[in-house]
């Protein structure tokens, strides 16, 4: 049973979800003082919440069969949980649409494309967008950015952060014309401060950081997205033992999936492109081979179509195969302007 159906106040529910507790089972072994500390509420409030939770879970156990398996969930519960989880917007409505609302938490999404298509741009945009406050429809979380190629430019992150703050203020003004209850107090520097940046210079460091993230995120529970840009670089340069490479990559994929599920966060990894001889001609394909292509839950390919950038859902258990245009502007990732511009000029 999930937290969304508990008879507690909305703010308490919001706090529980933000702290990562979406099911009753996750609350079962917690002491009131720990919960109070995590949610930043008084001890008595925490005790109340736990009482309500245990009462409801007792009611649940009489009819549910999931007491038999540890860690199992019914599909119904999973559906409710998914509906509660917010998605991280990409700032491009068309792209959000084909992604079902945005990048999903609890899943690993792989995004690949040719150099210069905008992978790092999308990464920085997501690292900023995950911080959109809950009141404005976002997750209010922080980001971990693992940079293996040195393509993260702070100046660009600042540009995107500034544009994002302006957008948030504008949206806030439109939304709450009558009730000016919430003010957007975020400044671009605050957004930069919530991005934890790791610079990785070898594949060993890459393996080390992904193993270390478990400890890091349990100490920084507000991290809601982990971005790896790119996962390919160090595995492509001078790897002689391909069998070792495949083993290391699959170990890494498992760890990332584990992270996503345990801490309820989104994992986005970027991949590069290679040419492959298929069906009688050379074609572009994502790097790292066929066995890697099975490792990620979702796979999105960014490509050029004429003069526009497009994103294509190549593989996903729940999303339909579709393409959407997007553009990279001075403000970051935005809707593709080609249609709008023509209308405006007329």
């Amino acid at each position: 049973m999930e937290v969304g159906r508990l008879p507690i106040s909305a703010s308490q529910r919001g706090k529980l979800i933000r702290a990562g507790y979406t099911t009753l089972s996750s609350l079962s072994s917690l002491s009131p003082s720990d919960l109070a500390r995590e949610l930043n509420v008084t001890n008595s409030e925490a005790l109340e919440i736990l009482k309500v939770a245990s009462l409801n879970s007792r009611l649940d156990r009489t009819d549910g069969g999931h007491a038999i398996f540890n860690g199992a969930q019914t599909a119904w519960d999973m559906l409710h949980e998914e509906q509660l989880l917010r998605r991280i917007t990409t700032s491009c409505a068309d792209l959000d649409n084909i992604l079902g609302g945005g990048i999903n938490c609890k899943e690993v999404t792989e995004i690949g494309g040719v150099p210069g298509i905008g992978k790092t741009q999308l990464g920085i945009q997501l690292a900023v967008n995950v911080q959109i406050p809950v009141d404005l429809g976002g997750l209010g979380g922080k980001a971990v950015y693992i940079d293996t190629e040195g393509s993260f430019m702070v100046e660009r992150a600042l540009q995107i952060a500034e544009a994002s703050v302006l957008d948030m203020v504008e949206y806030n003004d439109l939304l709450r014309k009558e009730h000016r209850k919430c003010q957007v107090n975020l400044k671009p520097n605050d957004l930069l401060e919530s991005i934890y940046y790791f610079r990785i210079c070898s594949y060993t460091e890459q393996m080390a950081v992904i193993s270390y993230l478990d400890k890091f995120i349990s100490a920084h529970k507000d991290v809601k997205i982990v971005i790896v840009d790119s996962v390919t670089f160090h595995f492509r340069q001078d790897f002689e033992d391909l069998a070792l490479r495949t083993r290391l990559l699959s170990g890494m994929a498992l760890k990332l999936m584990n992270l996503a599920k345990t801490y309820n966060l989104a994992v986005v990894i970027f991949n590069q492109v290679t040419t492959k001889y298929m069906e009688g001609s050379f074609q572009l394909a994502l790097a790292l081979g066929d066995s890697w292509s099975h490792s990620c839950t979702n796979r999105v390919i960014l490509y050029w179509n004429g003069d526009d950038r497009y994103a294509f859902i190549d593989k996903s258990p729940s999303l339909r195969s579709a393409s959407a245009p997007f553009s990279v502007t001075g403000k970051g990732i935005r809707n593709s302007a080609s249609n709008h511009k023509r209308i405006k000029l007329m």
């Binding site: 150099p115 702070v154 210079c201 070898s202 170990g251 050379f282």
Partner: protein, 374 residues
Amino acid sequence: MADKLIKEMGLPKSMANVFAARNITTAQEALALTDFELMLLLDVGMAEVSSALARISEIACPPYQTALALMEQRIQKEGHGGHLPTGLKGLDEALCGGIPFGVLTELVGPAGIGKTQFCMKLSLLASLPTAYGGLNGRVIYIDVESKFSSRRMIEIGVQSFPDIFNMKGMAQEMAGRILVLRPTSLSKFTESLQQIQVALRQQQVKLVVIDSMTAVISGDYGQGASRQHLLGWHVSFIKSLAEFSRIPIVVTNQVRSQTRDEGCQYSFQVRSTEDPVGYDSHLVAALGINWAHSVTIRLVLEAKSGQRFIKLAKSPMSPPLAFPFNITAAGISLLDDYGRELKGAEINKIHSHGHSDVINFDGKGCSDQWGKPT
């Protein structure tokens, strides 16, 4: 970080001994095995292995910084916020200050377009004192094709900064800061790189230029997998040089014609029936797509209808702009500081249209040439 020794990581004595007994001494060796494999190899329980690996990962992992701290550190400690200003106003603005430190910047274009000229100008700029917009440091110029001309460089200096260069002894001082290496083979080049790594730690080197990368790599070795492998090692090494010493590294690359076999579409894309190759010679950068991924900034120099352009083909912080430029006595100068924004994949194309007109002209009706004998 990968070479950190296991015995210095503070693991419990018993675990440290077990690792040593199986000849696993560095973090790299330990992390190359999965949890299960280690458990079998070391003959200990899963819990001990997991906690040992957690400890090793934590030590081997580089420290993190918030993006804000990163920005503040760059602004405080580095000249011009971590950039080498090129003196070309439009380009510097687009690049948020100039050629960035710590990453690879590539100059690619057809022969004679001006890549070496640009490199010489950059070398000069890096050697100038900070008061004049330079980095006040030494420059290492790896000149594979013997194109570096010190006479031309002094001329660029005299024309661009007359007040400095006309001072007594300044020309000698500035030129004395530029070290030119001329490796004649790939192995000599590799040696030079390793020497540079040592020099970077000791001396005030502020810029490394490699002119050109293509000539080094295509020399001895054939096509295909072995070449890619070799290139891969060099790319990693050069990138790590840039990263650790926080200096800009500029690399030039040549072009080759587009072969029909070139992959340019994914399997899910509808194959276009039109022939993508147009009438003017369609060129692509050499060294392959892997190299294209590895460079952080790609500046394409091309000639279109007799006019040279410098384009920002790949840059994480700039819009896709193209600036018309000319080669003058003072090096390179932009004709227009605003640049033209190019749509779509056009920014990546390299044109050589009317190029021969540009380099073989005889001085009539074009910008001043720098005393090249016709």
